[in-house]
Symmetry: C2
Subunit: 146 residues, 2 copies
DNA sequence: GTAATATAATTGACATATCAATTATATTTG
DNA sequence: CAAATATAATTGATATGTCAATTATATTAC
């Protein structure tokens, strides 16, 4: 009746799965685009779709805290994927702009991402994906409730 | 027919779930034990059960790379949870020993961990957990194959 | 048995993670 | 409208993540 080891729990399975997916996705992105991380790619994609996002909102979308996002954006500005300028309507905020270099990457990414998602979900039915989502959301809700 | 945003994918659900679980678990641990992280707790638990583990093996169990584990162990030695000494049978390795302070923590943790796992899995049947595991393992296998 | 190779762990360099404190600006309230 | 409060983002401190290079020791092959 002793507690199962962390490695014997469902949480270990969840964590190892997402980590393997990230490694897999990063590897495939790196083959075509040097010098960008998955998270930086996601930031580009979100900003492209929703240019008006605040840093706080982006942080939430990529599961980072604000401090972390500030530093990520600093890196991305240094690498010339982004430009930042103070928002004149609310001077606490920044307008974030994707540079030509950033746009280039955005053109290259979609087929890679599509392929990543497809091949990692190969053999998994729509219904299974639905099930997966339902069960995971239950766990998440439980964690948020207490 | 454009690519769904990262936030609309199953990977986002997986990642957000494990992050919420980690936050939840960390919060509950911190209430009782100051100054230890989930990962440090896991290292303690694994070492307690399998004292002969090499750093490389521990790293794998907690999904870190060797460099990262070296630094984690340094912190844990500095905080007096662990002691390290060179292994005389293989002088490239270390024997890692849990101190009295580490043992204390190991006594405190199990009920907290038990509670964390239970309440986050509340309302989820054994069968659902099985399903979850099967589907996630398929994804993981796909990522490792290619 | 020595040279070549393999393995365990560390280190350096840099990016990210996270908390708490701080700065700068906006909004609310008395 | 001035003081109090709230919000967006940054900064400092410290830990971790990751890659590539390095150190130290073991193992293998000639």
């Amino acid at each position: 009746m002793s507690l199962p080891l962390p490695s014997e729990t469902i949480f270990h399975v969840i964590e190892s799965t997402i980590k393997e997916y990230r490694k897999f996705a990063q590897k495939n992105i790196s083959k075509k685009v040097k010098d960008i991380t998955i998270d930086q790619s996601m930031v580009l994609i979100f900003l492209n779709e929703h240019p008006e996002l605040t840093q706080k909102e982006i942080a939430k979308l990529v599961f980072r805290d604000n401090a972390s996002l500030t530093r990520m954006l600093n890196t991305m500005v240094k690498k010339k994927y982004l430009k930042r300028s103070v928002d004149n309507k609310d001077r606490r905020r920044y307008n974030i702009e994707i540079t030509a270099k950033g746009k280039d990457i955005l053109d290259t990414l979609p087929p890679i991402i599509h392929q990543n998602r497809n091949s990692s979900l190969k053999g998994i039915t729509k219904n299974e994906q639905k099930q997966l989502e339902i069960i995971l959301n239950k766990i998440k809700t439980n964690c948020l409730k207490t």
